[in-house]
């Protein structure tokens, strides 16, 4: 049985004047026990919003998030408190997510105090344990965040999320603010910890290579919808959706094999012009819309940027279609790939 199951989750933001931005549109997603699942997409596609809604940091409009059988969105009081002990988050910005005026030891200890873990006397030891787990010393407990580098701060963020022994961790772009050398250390740490402690992880990133390393299953998100999902190996070696293919194409290749690639699948991003199509910004990115939950672009939301778009893409919205076993894709022409 899966640990977390999201069904038709919808999240929107009110923009004033009766306008609404539908940031997450009917997303369904599943995470098994001990599994690591990746969520990828460009900035603004709603991945962090989705995570925040699942963690009950922002309210959702509708849908069901069931965690071990309980609906998270309906939890209140004690139940919600317990859920927050089981589910933890690691944030993107290791500079912004630590309070500058609280020593690192106290920041970690706070989680133990709040949830009443261990006797007060044991907590100090537990803090030291946690620091050691993430590769820091006991001596670091008395120091303040500014005394640490970005990588060390991210280790502290991880230690803090581990303090309550969670079953489920949402890592929202945990390494995108770090240098590659440090990034590798943090990824290895997360992977090792997961193997030791068997928590599930929802790993949000825009760096596809990082996701490939961390995750066994991938969801690709575009404009608030899941457009492709499947095993990591499948999605990376046989991407079915043109958007996924474009994302993969855009990653610079270290071997220099693909130097100066010809124009990619992607025609334009956020209204920037390309040779073949000139569109205004409203069409490329989010469009303001009235309270209707339907997408503002008719047909497939990706069609304005898709080089293979034909008539049906403009008029009819594709459903999630099976591309292979366990591999779904929201494209009319899924059978043409793979």
């Amino acid at each position: 049985m899966s640990l977390l199951e999201i069904n038709n989750l919808r999240v929107s933001f009110h923009l004033g004047h009766g306008r609404k931005l539908q940031a997450v549109r009917n997303v369904s997603l599943e995470i098994g026990r001990g599994e690591s699942v990746g969520l990828v997409g460009e900035s603004g596609c709603g991945k962090s919003t989705l995570a925040s809604a699942v963690m009950r940091l922002i309210p959702a409009d509708g849908g069901v998030v069931s965690y071990a059988g309980d609906n998270v969105l309906a939890m209140r009081g004690r139940k919600l408190f317990d859920f927050r002990k089981k589910a933890q988050m690691v944030f993107q910005d290791p500079y912004g997510s630590l309070n500058a005026r609280i020593s690192v030891g106290s920041a970690i200890r706070e989680c133990l105090d709040v949830h009443g873990i261990g006797a007060a006397a044991e907590r100090r030891e537990r803090v030291v344990d946690l620091l050691n787990t993430v590769g820091l010393d006991a001596a670091h407990a008395g120091r303040y965040p500014h005394e640490f580098s970005g990588g060390q701060r991210q280790r502290i963020g991880i230690a803090r999320s581990l303090a309550v022994n969670p079953e489920f961790i949402v890592a929202d772009e945990p390494v995108s603010a770090l240098d590659v050398s440090i990034q590798a250390q943090i990824l290895n740490l997360l992977k090792d910890l997961q193997e030791q402690k068997h928590f599930s992880i929802l790993f949000i990133a825009h760096d596809l290579a990082v996701v490939r390393y961390m995750c066994s299953r991938i969801y690709v998100m575009y404009l608030g919808e899941i457009v492709e999902s499947g095993g990591a190996e499948d999605v990376f070696t046989r991407p079915a959706h043109p958007y996924t293919r474009a994302l993969l194409e855009a990653v610079p290749d270290i071997d220099g094999v693909r130097r100066r690639r010809p124009d990619r699948f992607m025609e334009h991003v956020d209204g920037e012009r390309s040779a073949s199509s000139v569109r205004s910004i409203e069409n490329g990115k989010w469009k303001m819309e009235n309270s209707s939950p339907s997408p503002s672009v008719s047909g497939c939301p990706f069609h304005p940027r898709c080089s293979q778009a034909v008539e049906i893409c403009r008029s009819q919205k594709p459903e999630m279609i099976k591309a292979a076993a366990g591999h779904l894709c929201r494209c009319h022409f899924v059978e043409n790939y793979g």
């Binding site: 460009e42 250390q185 596809l208 990376f236 270290i254 991003v269 920037e272 205004s280 910004i281």
Partner: protein
């Protein structure tokens, strides 16, 4: 312009930019911190050179010092920066202002922080044109000098967003002057050149109305307004999505072809380097520890640090069992290790590395490395 040509190695053409033994230190209460310690490199006309290294290795400080943009507590402690026949390390403020934005331009990592939120993007691009080509002067020069001094005195990390403003003069005094219609047309042409849809309408947009990719395009338009000979791109795509990153890099390469400027690309992303750069300098702890053609560095790195950086890049093309990070952290610049600065993190460390700092050794005419044991490093 009368450019004094000095002969360079082996009768090769004089490079556009030639940095020799540059030292930039940060003043502290005790010993100065040596952020850049004896860096030498060349950039030829129209060439793309990459500067690679982790945060804190001194690559941005090197870049800023090219146009005299380092401010106290940082100061130039020696070396020369020969740009087009002049030593920008020893030029006065008035001379530097003629060069900044006109001959050496910058684009930075976070476009939203480099643009002024209270002026339209068109106005801000036009400002560069008016300052360098129009009748617009740094009119209130006293005020400017006062600000400059204040900036130097209180310069700190929080000052960094104002770098771009400093480049294009003081906008507070500039704002009072009427716009010039010729420059308006030129600006619209520039917006069009960097691929912005509907440039006439976008001329009047404020930065917050644009996405990150569009803002970076505006920064590029601003930087290229006066046809600089050298564009310094300091992590130009780090804050952007991969798809937008690909577009911005394509744009830079295309514009380089059209305008023929040289690019100094500062980045920690070796993938980007493979894509665009001809030559690469790898920096560590304020020194260039390996330099060479991009092919040499990427396919046959000789320094263990370069090797480590390459191995640390997450791979998309195959499934990795384990990531290869470089253990440890960048050394504290206030208290650097003795000997080779990389030795505490180096897998090949031996006794001599702890004592003696290696000198640069030439592997080929273009490929140099600072490592005692480069011969034993096997190509990765």
């Amino acid at each position: 312009m009368n450019i004094q040509k000095t002969s360079d190695k082996g009768g090769a053409q004089t490079p556009l930019l030639s940095v020799k033994d540059l030292r930039v230190y940060f003043r502290t209460r005790s010993d100065p911190i040596r952020a850049v310690d004896g860096v030498s490199f060349d950039v030829a006309e129209g060439e793309t050179v990459a500067m690679v290294g982790e945060s804190g290795c001194g690559k941005s400080v090197t870049a800023l010092s090219l146009a005299g943009l380092v401010a106290l507590p940082a100061y130039n402690a020696g070396g020369e920066i020969l740009f087009d026949g002049r030593d920008t390390a020893n030029l006065g403020l008035a001379e530097l202002q003629k060069i900044r934005g006109a001959e050496i331009s910058y684009i930075f990592q976070e476009p939203s922080q480099s643009l002024n939120p209270v002026f339209t993007v068109g106005y801000q691009i036009m400002e560069a044109l008016r300052l360098h080509r129009g009748n617009l002067k740094h009119r209130n020069f006293k005020l400017h000098v006062g600000r400059e001094l204040a900036r130097r005195r209180f310069a700190s990390d929080s000052e960094r967003p104002s770098q771009a403003k400093a480049l294009h003069g003081t906008w507070t005094t500039v704002a009072a002057l009427p716009p010039n219609s010729n420059f308006r047309e030129e600006t619209i042409r520039l917006l069009d050149m960097v691929g912005i849809v509907d440039p006439v309408r976008r001329f009047k947009s404020y930065p917050h109305e644009l996405s990150g990719g569009m803002q970076q395009r505006v920064m590029i338009a601003m930087a290229l307004a006066c046809r600089p000979k050298l564009l310094v791109a300091d992590e130009p795509t780090t804050a952007l999505d991969v798809t937008v990153q690909a577009q911005i890099m394509d744009l830079l390469v295309r514009l380089q072809g059209e305008l023929g400027m040289a690019i100094l690309l500062i980045t920690h992303n070796l993938g980007l380097v493979a894509d665009v750069a001809r030559r690469v300098n790898v920096m560590y702890a304020g020194r260039i520890i390996e330099s060479g053609l991009a092919d040499e560095i990427l396919s046959c790195p000789k320094h263990p640090y370069t090797h480590g950086l390459l191995a640390a890049v997450p791979r998309l093309d195959f499934n990795q069992k384990r990531m290869n990070g470089i253990p440890g952290n960048v050394p504290n610049p206030a208290n650097p290790p003795a000997g080779c600065k990389f030795h505490p993190r180096c897998p090949h460390v031996r006794e001599i590395c702890r004592r003696e700092e290696p000198c640069e050794e030439k592997i080929s005419e273009t490929h140099g490395v600072k490592c005692h044991f480069w011969k034993s490093i096997i190509c990765g």
